[in-house]
């Protein structure tokens, strides 16, 4: 079955409103419920949330040597903040899941197909 990357991009240094423990719990509730739905329907493959891009390190080949530099690969306003990898029968099904994700996360979701899928 085709696999899709559902990714959310967040602005660097975007200060989140400070939340109480209870508010945090409430904000997470729908996200956890959606992840449970993804898992029980066999849609969920993997997911993760990333630290901000200032925690990134880039390694690259330079004159035959490996060069290590601080910071993200591209200096951009927005960076990958988190992602789901899901399995769906077609793009419409993937977009339906992405619609649910954007509703609970309140941020745009980019949907990209994986180039090779096993099986």
């Amino acid at each position: 079955m085709p696999q899709y990357l559902l990714s959310v991009h967040s602005a660097a240094g975007e200060t989140r409103q400070t939340m109480t423990e209870e508010e945090m719990q409430q904000a997470w509730q729908p996200i956890l419920a959606l992840e449970a739905e993804m898992k029980s329907s066999g849609t969920w493959v993997f997911s993760g949330r990333l630290h901000e891009a200032d925690a990134a390190t880039v390694v690259r080949m330079s004159d035959g040597m490996v060069l290590t530099t601080d910071g993200p690969f591209v200096e951009a306003k927005e960076h990958l903040g988190g992602f789901y990898i899901i399995e769906a029968v077609d793009l419409d099904a993937a977009l339906a899941w992405a619609s649910k994700v954007t509703r609970v996360i309140m941020a745009p979701i980019e949907v990209r197909p994986f180039a090779e899928t096993s099986g």
Binding site: P2, Y4, V89, D90, L91, D92, A94, L95, V111, R112, P113, A115
Partner: protein, 405 residues
Amino acid sequence: MPTVDDVLIGGVFREESGRSVATLIRIFGDIDLAEDAVQEAFAVALHKWPTDGLPENPGGWITTTARNRAIDQLRRESRGRDLLAQVALLDQPDQQLEPEVVPVEDDRLRLVFTGCHPALSSEAQVALTLRLLGGLTTTEVARAFLVAESTMAQRLARAKRKIKAAHIRYRVPSPAELPHRLRPVLAVLYLVYNAGADGPSGHELRAEAIRLTRAVAGLMPDEPEVSGLLALLLITESRQPARFNGNGSLVLLGEQDRERWDRTLIEEGQAIVRACLRRNIPGPYQVQAAINAVHADAASVGSTDWNEILALYDQLRALSPTPVVALNRAIALGEVRGPAVALAVVDGLDLDGYYLYHATRADLLRRLGRTEEAAGAYARAADLAPSDPERAFLEGRLSMIGSTD
């Protein structure tokens, strides 16, 4: 029996290639393979038909030949052999054994919804629909959109790649999805019709747009805008026999020989408009259809109910406040309140690159006796005109003004 030559086969191609491509895409799920195979089948036809004669069912012959070519092509590739095994397993095995491939009536409709998928850009949607269903070459599609052929080739290739990579499925959306998927489909069908307003494959494009709109209307009898578009296309099409004079120059609505309008199409269109009015859920296509229905009611341009048309344009402007709607409304305003009032409105519009803006200004200036300015506006309109019949008409106007000086 007519001689089978390249011209006749070219005609069959324009009429049948969309159906064949759609059927092959359903069977193989691969646009490029389908397009290449149908092209090859026509190459075979060009070679064979002049000596063997036209087959009884040319479209069926093309589809079957193309299907066999596609299977040959797939057998040559190892990846293709996997696909073939899948196709044979999943896709109605009995159909593989039939001597002729039978098109499923929904094949082209399915392809319209695929080509108009919201995940594709609107430029790509209409280009794909024209290319795959209208049978236009990339060159012709590029010309219809006034872009370079290489740009259009890239746009089409990218859209086809995305359909394949992202697994955009060939299917008619479920009833729950339909309303959301409808808007781009209607926009594309209207553009396909307009792309056929003139040009060599004009008749087929217009017929195809009407046929597909009918099919969508049949699928969605409760969507008033689908009915509205169908009525708009039918009434517009009714005037086609009167739109050009013997020299191939455009004839304006007001000067057309109304005896030549197709009454059958008008009656069908007007019946749909009346049904829409009863339902009373107006939308831009329905209002445009109503405007055209009012024109069709008038036995002569003099007896046209311009007050009614102006009222409908007011409604249209509220539904879709675009400069082009404002321009068309100004023409009606000119009939109700005179050219000076209309010119004041037209001069306030930002449509300098649009030939009909200059043609409308020219006509109003002429009626106000400002001949020199009118001549300048006609010349500008002729420069910007998108096709020969329009240019011929505008140049005719220009020389008419010149001779009255």
